[in-house]
């Protein structure tokens, strides 16, 4: 069991009239090596769920065990370390740092691990080769297309060999062809044994993922396995 959520609440302005329950009693488990889509409309709470799963945010109530360890009681520094080593993020807006080259962007999580320059660059280069961007290692994000930038972002997410990848609308800013390439890359990661959690509002994308969790108003509506054509 990689992820175990138990009665997770995320409540803003608790007790006031304008109280918002972004997560309203969510429980779910995700096994190591699963490919899960979390689907919902905007405002459904799926982004909050991703933030909690990605250790970017702490729930108001509830228990969250990641890899057997309780998350909700961790300090800032410990959460930073967990994000650094166990989770790879892929965002809709790529979120690369514009002043850094592709290689430096990919090497950044490794730098925060304290890895030395040479080893860091070698590891980052491997990740770039994996996403087919080795030739653009010295380019800055502004010199690359959206699809290329997202591939750099994927390389950054996988560089530290995390146990799970969190992809938040990774195809949202891409045309359908490059979007498909990005999805294929996530499928490939899944085949290699990485846990992949994909957050999307797009049902056609959700249709390609073996397990789909629907969320609405901070609650889980359904949690179903399905056949997919690429397996």
């Amino acid at each position: 069991m990689l992820i175990e959520l138990k009665d997770i609440y995320k409540i803003y302005r608790e007790g006031e009239e304008s109280e918002v329950r972004a997560l309203d009693g969510v429980s779910l488990t995700i096994d190591r090596g699963e490919f899960v889509a979390i689907v919902g409309a905007s405002g459904s709470g799926k982004s909050t769920l991703m933030n909690v799963l990605g250790c970017l945010d702490i729930p108001t109530y509830g228990e969250y065990r990641l890899d057997g360890a309780e998350i909700t009681t961790r300090t800032d520094a410990q959460l930073a370390q967990i994000r650094n080593r166990q989770i790879g993020f892929i965002f809709q807006g790529y979120n690369l740092i514009p002043e850094l080259t592709a290689l430096e962007n990919v090497a950044l999580p490794l730098a925060y691990q304290g890895m030395h320059m040479q080893q860091r660059n070698e590891t980052a280069m491997e990740a770039l080769e994996k996403v087919g961007m080795a030739l653009r290692a010295q380019s800055h994000p502004s010199e690359l297309s959206g699809g290329q930038q997202q591939r750099i972002a994927i390389a950054r997410a996988i560089a530290a060999h995390p146990s799970m990848i969190m992809a938040d609308e990774p195809t949202g800013a891409l045309d359908s062809k490059t979007g498909k390439q990005v999805l294929e890359m996530l499928q490939q990661l899944y085949r290699e044994g990485t846990t992949v959690i994909l957050i999307t509002h797009d049902l056609s994308i959700a249709a390609t993922v073996p397990r789909v969790i629907r969320i609405s108003d901070g609650k889980i509506l359904s949690d179903e396995m399905q056949e997919v054509d690429w397996l």
């Binding site: 970017l56 945010d57 994000r83 650094n84 850094l100 925060y112």
Partner: protein, 403 residues
């Protein structure tokens, strides 16, 4: 993230916004340059004054005494000091003549009191037979003035080594006749050069018997004297005795007298140097402080602008510590670069100011250089701290939402 990596990252961010970084540095540059220049010019001034006092030798008293009525006390003081022979080595009037057109000529060579090149201008001084003794001049040829020269109004002079070289080149000046204001004077002696770097005029001395005050000095009253004592303790005793004698000789109602011990002047010079440096350095330091506030301002803007970047860094695993380090290093690197440019400007400014104001070659000492640099880096850390802490406290979720 090691410090080295943070350092490289800081250089990258700074060079990405060159104009802004430069404007931010400007406060530090101006602050450091003005601290360096002000403190250095004071040090130069004091170095020059100390050199002068030292060239005059230690254990010297400067005496000011005159009667309102103009009656000359030179002979009285001379005779009184003869009686203090166990304390006093010599006594001499010190009258600098600045008359228009004053010059000394030999053949085609001239040394003028008002030469365009200050290094070549002659110092025409009326003194006694003990002038050289009192002011640490040693004869290289001929003889000093004598009491006879003074009492008999002899047209004789002793030349400083510099003047002798200018006028006579390799010829021995002793016994030769030079012309001052149209009148011939016999050179009776030449002093060795002192070669004090910033006081070349000390070697451009033309010493004349003080009794010639009647003709050369337009009969003005002689009021300044130097007395040389045998030792530091003798100087202290002699100062009290001479002051006592003068007070009796010139009652307060009829004139003025004052004895100044140059040993004490040298001591108080050091204290003055310290005080002046602190005051002026402090004033200039305020401009550094203003520069520091500018750094804080721009770092706060930078943190706001880079909220998203901070969010990304935190999402992929940057700890608060790494973020603080990143912004602290960025602020200190800006200050350090500003400090280095400021020091270079300070060297240039000191060179120019010392040349124009003090006519000497002077560069800032290592103390003020290292001090100013260290202070600017510390300033960067102090004023970078608040923005850095603010940046590190951003929540990744909120930071990522920023546009």
């Amino acid at each position: 993230m090691t410090v080295m990596q943070s350092f490289r990252m800081a250089l990258k961010s700074i060079s990405a916004k060159k104009m802004r970084s430069f404007l931010t540095m400007l406060g530090i540059i101006i602050g450091v340059a003005s601290v360096v220049i002000l403190v250095s010019v004071i040090q130069a001034q004091n170095k020059k004054s100390l050199e002068y006092l030292e060239s005059q030798g230690t254990n010297k008293l400067t005496v000011s005494a005159y009667r309102w009525t103009g009656g000359d006390i030179s002979r009285d003081l001379y005779d009184y000091c003869l009686g203090l022979s166990d304390l006093v080595v010599g006594v001499t009037p010190e009258v600098h003549l600045y008359n228009d057109g004053l010059s000394v000529k030999y053949g085609t060579h001239t040394v003028s009191a008002t030469a365009e090149d200050w290094r070549k201008s002659g110092q025409f001084i009326l003194g006694s037979d003990q002038y050289g003794l009192c002011n640490n001049y040693k004869l290289s040829a001929g003889r000093d003035l004598t009491r006879m020269d003074i009492d008999n109004y002899q047209n004789v002079c002793v030349l400083g080594g510099g003047v002798a070289e200018t006028l006579f080149n390799l010829v021995n000046p002793v016994g030769k006749s030079v012309t001052i204001l149209g009148t011939p004077y016999t050179v009776v002696g030449v002093y060795q050069k002192k070669n004090v770097d910033n006081w070349p005029e000390l070697d451009n001395l033309i010493l004349l018997p003080y009794s010639l005050n009647r003709t050369l000095g337009n009969n003005q009253t002689i009021s300044e004297y130097s007395v040389k004592a045998v030792s530091a303790s003798a100087a202290d005793v002699a100062a009290i005795r001479i002051q006592g004698y003068l007070s009796a000789l010139i009652p307060e109602s009829s004139g003025y007298s004052h004895v100044q011990n140059n040993n004490q002047s040298m001591d108080s010079m050091d204290e003055m140097l310290m005080a002046q440096s602190l005051v002026l350095g402090g004033i200039a330091g305020i401009s550094l402080l203003v520069g520091g506030i500018g750094i804080m301002n721009i770092m706060l803007v930078t943190v706001t602008e880079r909220t998203r970047e901070i969010g990304i860094r935190k999402a992929i695993g940057a700890s608060r510590r790494s973020i603080i380090l990143q912004f602290l290093i960025e602020a200190s690197v800006i200050c350090a670069i500003g400090g280095i440019i400021g020091i270079l400007l300070g060297f240039l400014g000191t060179l120019i100011a010392a040349k124009l104001l003090l006519k000497m070659l002077f560069l800032p000492g290592e103390g003020i250089t290292i001090g100013a640099f260290a202070f600017s880096v510390v300033l960067g850390i102090i004023f970078g701290l608040y923005p850095a802490i603010k940046a590190s406290g951003l929540q990744p979720v909120e930071a990522l939402r920023a546009e």
